[in-house]
């Protein structure tokens, strides 16, 4: 998960609290020592209790798929090995604050794209037809339209206007809305079992 470290209180540095809350990791902030829960990004103990960090868009993919989309990427100067984690056993979680929904990656790979509404916001979760290891959660809201996305022979397109979009970067390519881009939404990957623990009562989409 990727969170913004700044709030209205300023920028904070976070450390590892060494504790689990609801089976998920916790952090401490160096300013007040408050304890924060990772999945909800919220302080659960200490002076900042109730304060939240903003979840930012990020993706989990293979190094090959990432560098194809981002050849100029910076790489954390650290060893990278096979991890034992497998996208085929995970879910994409779109978390818009008041609602989070998990989408099974194997099922997403079968359908290509899911159009949904999360926390009142029109979203699409897309698997790149060129690479099943690339997924992204887009907002379906453009300037004046809400698009409905499908995967066709020419890639990702809006069924109403026929506009095509880059399925990973969201850039408008061809058609009436091609001067607009699809924006990314905050999302991360999780194991379905962990998701159910971290986000009790929330929706798990499996097609």
């Amino acid at each position: 998960m990727v969170h913004r470290r700044s709030t209205e209180s300023g920028v904070s540095i976070f450390g590892n609290q060494g504790a689990l809350f609801g089976n998920a990791m916790t952090w401490w902030d160096h300013d007040t020592g408050s304890v924060w829960s990772q999945p909800i990004g919220e302080a659960i103990l200490g002076p900042r209790k109730g304060e939240k960090l903003e979840l930012l868009p990020s993706t989990l993919t293979t190094w090959e798929a990432w560098t194809k989309a981002h050849p100029d990427t910076l790489a954390l100067d650290a060893p990278g090995r096979r991890s034992g984690f497998d996208l085929a056993r995970m879910a994409v979680v779109v978390d818009l604050g008041t609602e989070a929904v998990a989408y099974s990656i194997p099922r997403l790979r079968e359908v290509g794209v899911v159009n949904d509404v999360v926390a009142g916001h029109e979203v699409a979760v897309v698997i790149d037809p060129e690479d099943p290891n690339r997924w992204v959660a887009f907002s379906r809201r453009l300037d004046n339209e809400v698009v409905v996305l499908e995967i066709g022979p020419d890639g990702l397109f809006d069924v109403t206007t026929g506009t095509t979009f880059d399925p990973f970067l969201g850039l408008g390519l061809l058609g009436p809305l091609s001067d607009q881009n699809l924006g990314r939404l905050p999302a991360f990957t999780s194991f379905p079992d962990d998701y159910v623990t971290f986000f009790p009562g929330q929706r798990l989409w499996d097609g």
Partner: protein
Amino acid sequence: MFALIAGGFLVLFGALVLMSGGEADTTLHDDPRANSTVGTNVPVITDAPVASDPVDPGSVYDPVRAGEETPKTYRQLLGRDQIAPVYDPGFTTADDIEWDSEILVVGVEGASTSKAYPVSYLNRREMVIDHIDGDPILVTW
């Protein structure tokens, strides 16, 4: 006493930011210490002052030790930073890193920069305290 020292440090940091024309974060106590590395023999690139911090975990308030009532599912297993976060991440280019194409990475896009973090390393260190295009971010696994 600690507050006084920290206050003096903040003033010094402010002066350094002004002098260097650097990022004008309203940082509470980000350390302006210059680029350092995770351990490398290739050139290191950063896009912003790196967050590193000399704070001793034991010197900061701990609500659990102080006796605040913890939620039912809270379980303290280790000490603070016993799994050491990466406070001073270093970066290199895709050409200079030797990762297998199949390894999993967490990818983040800033306005003009993108960054990749290998899952195998995140799984070991759990937290990277970083910036992207000047925005302070926290990458966790």
